[in-house]
Structure formats: C-alpha cells, structure tokens
C-alpha cells in the first residue's frame, strides 16, 4: 500500500529535507578533522543527548507515554556493555547492540505491570521503577555494588567516540523518522490522543505501546553503552542517575515535544547553554529551568514549533466562524 503519512505536495519538501539531512551528516562526520578534542568531546555529548532525546520524544511525544525511566535504560545499557565486554571477546558493535537489547528486554518484562498505569500514574510508575533499579544496583555486589565496574578494554580517543556516537544518533533518527512516516505513526498518535477510542478503532494499544517502549529503551540503552565506553568505568549513581532523565526531558521540551526536529534543536541549545554557563555551575540549573519555563509559556510546541509557522492559523479563524 502506498499511503504513508505523507500528504500530496510534501514529496518535494521531504526530499529536500532528506538532502539537507544527509549534507548535515557529512559535515558532522568531518568535525574531528576540523576541530580539536574539546569540540570532539562536546560533540560526543551532544550526539549522545540527541539520541536520548530522539528516543524519549518517540515515547512521550508521539505515543503519549511520558516516562521518567530514561536513567534506568541508560544504566542498564551501560552495565550490559561493561559486563559483556569484560566477560567476552564480542566486537564493539555487538556490545553496543547488547547495550540496547538488555533495556529493551527489561522494558518488555515490566510492561504488563507498568501499562496498567495510565497518564500521570505511568509517569510516576516509571520513575519509581528507575529509582528502585538504581538502589538495587547500588546494593547488588555481583555487579560491583556502589563502586561499580572498571572496563578492561582501553578507553578510545575522543575522535573515535565521536565517530561512534554519530552513526548511533543518525540511525536512531532515521529509525524514528521512518516509523513516523509509516502507518504505525497513526497508531502511536491515536493511542496518545485517546487510548480507549484507539482500541475502539481496532488499534491493539498494548502492542503499540510495548513496541514504542521497547524501541525507546533500546535506543536509550545504546546511548548508555556509549557512556560506559567513554568513562572506562561505571558506577550506579552516575549511570542510573536522574540527571539523564532531566536532561532528556528538558531538551525535548525546549526543542519541541512531538516535533521531528525538536530533539536536535533542543540538544543544540541545551548543550550551548550548558557550555556558556560552565563557569557558573551553581547557576546552570537555575538558568536552564528559567529557559524551560519561558519556553513552556511562550512556545508550548517548543522552539521547533515556533520556527514552523503553524499552517492552520487560517483554519482556526474559519473554525471560529462556525461556532
């Protein structure tokens, strides 16, 4: 069947966007040749955060499941990568995939319970689960307890990390964009807008939510695995920390939740903000929070939504005349 989410007249625009995207990827790939380790390191962090934001936006923005479990998936991915890397000779791509697979399986296992909760309760449930997991890891001596695990493999240089994080982000972005242009997109958004009615329209909502949850966990876990590789050692407080979740949510909301470009735009601004406030660590959070408040107030669709002139402005007027 031909009908994806694409509308007539958008084919050209979509092709243009694709070309621009490819050009951006090529330029980004050249960064290590042009800039030093500072920029490579910053680029790695931006790519990693963008990956997290892309994943969270799929689940929260398009499926309506506002999870605060990002930290848990990052941590699981990081630990899976470290443990498998220390106890096997598996190549790097396999380790990264394992970093995604473990949180995805975890997501599938907890979903029957977690999906009983809806809306705000799901959010709180995911947060409770993430915290419980962190406390478990702190106390579980099998995985190194509070002191964590040291990786046997040497930490690669920054340019190598950067070149690893770039394809991870691009693949995550491509995966999510393809999904959003497929018929699945309608099911995700229908579940978000009204799950009960979606079921009445024949949507198997449990499967739809499970798929989005598992995919989000997978992508998030791979980003966590990258963290493990970068640090060379992991401990539960950092790997399972709330700051992963807070950064991700802030980025998506600033950039624009449920927009395609929001996570990337949000990452750029968030990382730039963080860098410009590096000298004032005590003010960093306060200013980031202020930016967040202002964005929510003036641009509920985020900065990406502000950039796109909303095409139904005119329609609103026509509608009002009908009232």
């Amino acid at each position: 069947m031909s009908g994806s989410g694409a509308r007539p007249g958008q084919g050209g625009a979509a092709r243009g966007a694709l070309i621009a995207l490819l050009a951006a990827v090529v330029l980004l790939a050249l960064v290590p040749y042009l800039f030093g380790t500072y920029w490579q390191q910053l680029g790695f962090r931006a790519l990693q955060l963008a990956t997290l934001a892309i994943a969270w936006n799929l689940l929260a923005g398009y499926t309506g499941q506002v999870s605060l479990g990002t930290g848990a998936f990052v941590g699981l991915g990081a630990y899976a990568f470290a443990l498998l890397g220390n106890h096997s000779a598996a190549p790097l791509p396999v380790l990264l995939l394992a970093g995604g697979a473990v949180p995805a399986v975890f997501a599938v296992l907890v979903s029957p319970g977690l999906f009983r909760l809806r809306g705000l309760y799901f959010t709180i449930g995911s947060l409770a689960l993430a915290e419980a997991l962190r406390i478990l890891m702190v106390n579980l001596s099998v995985f190194g307890g509070a002191s964590g695990i040291v990786l046997r493999a040497a930490t690669p240089p920054f340019y190598a990390l950067y070149w690893l994080a770039l394809p991870v982000m691009v693949l995550a972005l491509a995966l999510v964009l393809v999904l959003l242009h497929s018929p699945v997109s309608l099911s995700l958004r229908a579940v978000r807008d009204d799950e009960d009615v979606a079921r009445q329209m024949g949507v198997r909502s449990f499967r739809v939510k499970l798929g989005a949850f598992a995919l989000t966990a997978f992508i998030t876990g791979v980003a966590g695995a990258l963290q493990s590789l970068k640090l060379g050692a992991i401990e539960p407080y950092g790997a399972f920390g709330m700051s992963w979740t807070i950064d991700t949510v802030a980025i998506v909301i600033i950039g624009g939740i449920a927009t395609r470009g929001g996570p990337l735009l949000g990452t750029l601004l968030y990382v730039a903000l963080g860098e410009s406030l590096r000298g004032l660590p005590e003010l960093h959070n306060a200013i980031a929070a202020l930016v967040l408040l202002i964005v929510i107030r003036v641009a509920p669709q985020g900065l990406w939504g502000l950039l796109l002139r909303r095409p139904w402005r005119r329609a609103t007027a026509a509608e009002a005349s009908d009232a």
Partner: protein, 507 residues
C-alpha cells in the same frame, strides 16, 4: 433458513456500585435493520452501546455478533469483527488531522490485504459527511457539531457490519436533520445493521423500522416504531405530554409570552456589535435589546453567530466594533467575572458541572466570596425554582440525569442573583420529557423577574417562552419581533431551515 441476527444480547446487565445501569436486557437486532433506542436521560442507552462495543465489561449476560459470542473479546477485537460506534460526547484524536482520524480507523478494522484504496475510501466518506473542506485540520480544532460528524465519519471508515450511533442528531436544524436522515437511510445497503440512539424523534421515525425503549436500565418495550411511540407508557416515561412541535411558518400556536404591549425599560442594549475570529467576521453590526424582566429568544442556523453574540455579551469574546450597555453602564471590554458581578449570568453550551463537587457545592461555588452571607437565601431561591435539585443536594453533580444536570447548570448561573440570564442551548441532548420539565422550571425563573436571553435550537420551545424573538443569519440580525409574528413569518423558514441553512452548514 432464517435471516441471521446482526446482534443479540441475552440478560445483559451492568452494575455501577449497587446501581444497575443495564438490567437483564434481552434484545436482538435483525440483519439489515435499523433499530432505534430511546429513553430518558440516564436510562442506560450509552451504557448499552459501551457494553456492546467492549468499552465496558458486562456484569452478566452474553453478546452475540452475527451469531458469534463476543462477550469475552477485547474492544479492538470486536472492532475487527465489524462493530463501529460513535460517542455521544465526541472523542476525536485531537492532534491528528481529520483525514488521519479516518485513515487510522480504515487501516485497523480489516486485514492487511483488504486495505487497498484506504485514502479514496476515507476521502469519499469525508465528502459524504461534509468534512472534505476540513480534511487537513487538526481534529481538535473542529467545533462541536463538526466533531459529531467526524464521529460518524470515523465509524464509517471502519467499514462496520454493525453501526452503533449515539445521539448524532442533537443540535441540528431541520435541513441538517433531513440530510442526516438521508445519509442513515443510504447506509442501509452498506452496513449490516444499525442501532440508533436518538432524542430527535424525526430521525427515529424516518429511519427505524423498530424501536426499543430503555427506562432505568430495563427494556420497557420493543416493537414497530409507530406502535412504540403511540404507547401511553412510553409517553409517560419519555415523550412527556406528547406536544408535537409545529413546523415554523405554520399557524401560530397559543402564546406563553407576555402579551402586554408596554415595552419594558431596556436592561441590555447591544448596538452594532461585531466580532471577528482571526480574519473572519462572525458577527456584523448586530443590535439587540433585552428589557427588564423580558425574555428574548435568539434563533438561527448553526454558525449564524448566536453563541458568539451570547459570549460577546458576557465578555468571553472581545468586540471588534459596537457597544454593549447593561443597566445603563458600558460593559464591553470587561472581563467575564466583572460582567458576572454586574448581574449577567451565563449558562454556557455544555453543562460543565464539577463532578467532584456535590450539587449544593456546585451551586455555592458560583457565589462570590463577599456574597457568602446570602448563601442560604440564594440556595432557597434556586431550590424553589428547581425542586429536583433540593432532592439531590448531597449527590455528586454529575450523578443526576442529564435534565437535572442542566437544571444545576442554570441554577448555578442564578446563584449570584443576576438580572439577566443567558441560556445557551439548554435543551441540547435532553429527552423530550426532560426538555418539558426544564422549560417548566424556566417559567418559574421568569416569574421571579429575571430577564432571559435564550439561544435555542428548539424553535418551538424558545418561542413559547419568549416575549420577543430575534433571528440571526450569517452573523447579521435578519428578523426581530413578537413570537407569533416570527412564527408566522414565511421568512423564518427561509432563514432558519431553508436554503440559507443549507448554505451555511454543509449537510
């Protein structure tokens, strides 16, 4: 071999707490049939549809769809077996476009190999239901009546074998009702069977071979529509005194309005009021006067600007031009709460009862803090006008029947003792008997000397209560005068139900 039944329910029951919303109902819908279901507000009609579609699980009983027991199936599985439904209060996928709402339905109701030509299928339905011009709008931006149409369109996109329609005729003017009847009739050959819940009797009589009556969760009777509607028991629980509404333009009926020719002192004066939404003018230079203690009916097709005018008066939408004076003082530009403080009560479209508050708390909430001393007196005054509210004062506001909830909404607007009460579509979605009781109460309200501006779809009821009437079309005042003159005017038909209405609102 007998015709297979589209739907059969056996001893179907559903309890909410200790209350049986549906109580041992046995009913069959024949293949090819359109079955009407009528009954008072709160009789269990919507619960019945929720049980069949799977939105609610029955406490007891069986549901057979084309001979197959679907009682244990999940909602989505029932949809895939051919059940399509609408919601009484529309529930569009608000952030998806209107077309996407339909595409989603079309894609999930059937197996993949049958999914060809979804887009053509959906666009054909959009055209047929008059939504083609808004196909790319986010569904959440549609006004209420279009949302209702979207409910129907989305259910049709499912290609259902059994279609369950829940009050899709509410709030339509005559021309639109006729178009709806045509549409439902044309569906007969496409849909296996239709169950039609409706308060609009014209739709029931025109579409349904048989009609079932639910009352307090029980099946009162089922049979040929004509016989059921003639049943005195049905009249007692549902239709009321059976006073039929004469068509506009017919011979004048006896007047309930004030016959005095003395014009009362003006309380509300609207001069040259214009309102724009974006670039579109919804109201152009409308003049309207409501005298002290006078009742004015505001009539017109959907989209004519009635609600806009009501909202402009109460300060909910700003005026682009013109002036509004109330009791001699300018009120245009005041915030809604300040307008309320001046003595204008606005009972808005949709009841907006606070579900977590009791009936009495719902009323008390409407009193400004400085008026709390008068609370007991105001409660007594409102209870005197709406005795039913006194009987339910401790209950949750939404636990009452639809008619009583509407009384509560009006009572709430009356709590601050306004001098002018604006009522917007208060009879919408109510059973005939509930409308009758509501208008009885409104007579008691009028007797207290409160002036009223009544926005009404139900011309007959509106004109019965009114001292004067105004007819709006395309945002302009077209006709004003005494009810008997308006009713007799041949222009009314043209303005209100004729070509004009057909032009403003797609069928």
């Amino acid at each position: 071999m007998p015709e297979p039944e589209a739907l059969r329910v056996e001893t179907l029951s559903r309890q909410f707490g200790g209350v049986a919303a549906i109580d041992a109902v046995d009913l069959a819908v024949r293949a090819g049939e359109t079955l009407g279901i009528i009954g008072p507000n709160g009789a269990g009609k919507s619960t019945f549809i929720n049980l069949i579609s799977g939105a609610l699980a029955p406490s007891r009983g069986r549901i057979l769809l084309f001979g197959e027991d679907v009682t244990g199936l999940a909602t989505e599985a029932r949809t895939r077996r051919g059940i399509g439904r609408t919601h009484q209060i529309p529930r569009p996928f608000a952030r998806m476009s209107v077309r996407e709402n339909l595409l989603l339905a079309a894609r999930h109701a059937r197996a993949a190999h049958e999914r060809r030509a979804d887009r053509e299928h959906c666009d054909a339905i959009l055209t047929r239901t008059g939504l083609a011009d808004v196909a790319d709008w986010p569904a959440g931006r549609l006004p209420l009546l279009r949302r209702k149409r979207l409910e129907l369109a989305r259910a049709l996109a499912l290609r259902p074998r059994l279609l369950l329609l829940d009050e899709i005729g509410a709030g339509l003017v005559e021309a639109e009702t006729r178009a709806l009847i045509e549409l439902i009739r044309s569906l007969r050959t496409e849909v296996g069977a239709i169950v039609l819940i409706e308060h609009v009797m014209d739709v029931i009589t025109a579409c349904c071979e048989r009609t079932a009556v639910l009352s307090s969760g029980r099946l009162l009777t089922v049979g040929p529509t004509r016989e059921v509607l003639a049943d005195p028991e049905v009249a007692a629980v549902y239709l009321g005194t059976g006073e039929r509404e004469p068509a506009p333009g017919a011979a004048p009926a006896p007047q309930g309005g004030r016959q005095s020719s003395v014009t009362p002192a003006p309380l509300l004066e609207v001069r040259g009021a214009s309102v724009s939404y974006g670039g579109v003018r919804a109201l152009r230079g409308v003049d309207l006067v409501v005298g002290e203690g006078e009742v004015v009916a505001l009539l017109g097709a959907n989209g004519a600007g009635k609600t806009t005018l009501a909202r402009a008066i109460s300060g909910a939408v700003p005026l682009a031009a013109g002036s509004i004076r109330f009791a001699g003082a300018r009120i245009a530009g005041l915030a809604p709460e300040l307008v309320t403080a001046r003595g204008i009560g606005h009972c808005m479209e949709g009841r907006r009862i606070f579900a977590s508050l009791s009936v009495e708390e719902n009323l008390l909430v409407a009193l400004p803090p400085e008026a709390r001393a008068r609370a007991a007196g105001r409660l007594e005054a409102v209870y005197a006008m709406f005795p039913a509210l006194r009987d339910h004062r401790g209950k949750s506001g939404t636990a009452m029947s639809g008619g009583q909830q509407q009384m509560l909404a009006i009572g709430r607007a009356l709590m601050p003792a306004p001098r002018l009460l604006i009522l917007d579509e208060v009879s919408l979605g109510l059973a005939p008997i509930a409308v009758e009781q509501l208008y009885e109460s409104l007579r008691r309200v009028r007797a207290t000397g409160v002036a009223m501006l009544i926005v009404e779809q139900n011309i007959h009821r509106g004109l019965q209560l009114a001292d004067r009437a105004c007819v709006l079309a395309h945002g302009e005042l077209r006709l004003a005068g005494r009810p008997q003159d308006i009713r007799a005017s041949p222009e009314l038909r043209a303005l209100y139900v004729g070509e004009d209405a057909a032009a403003t609102a797609p069928p």
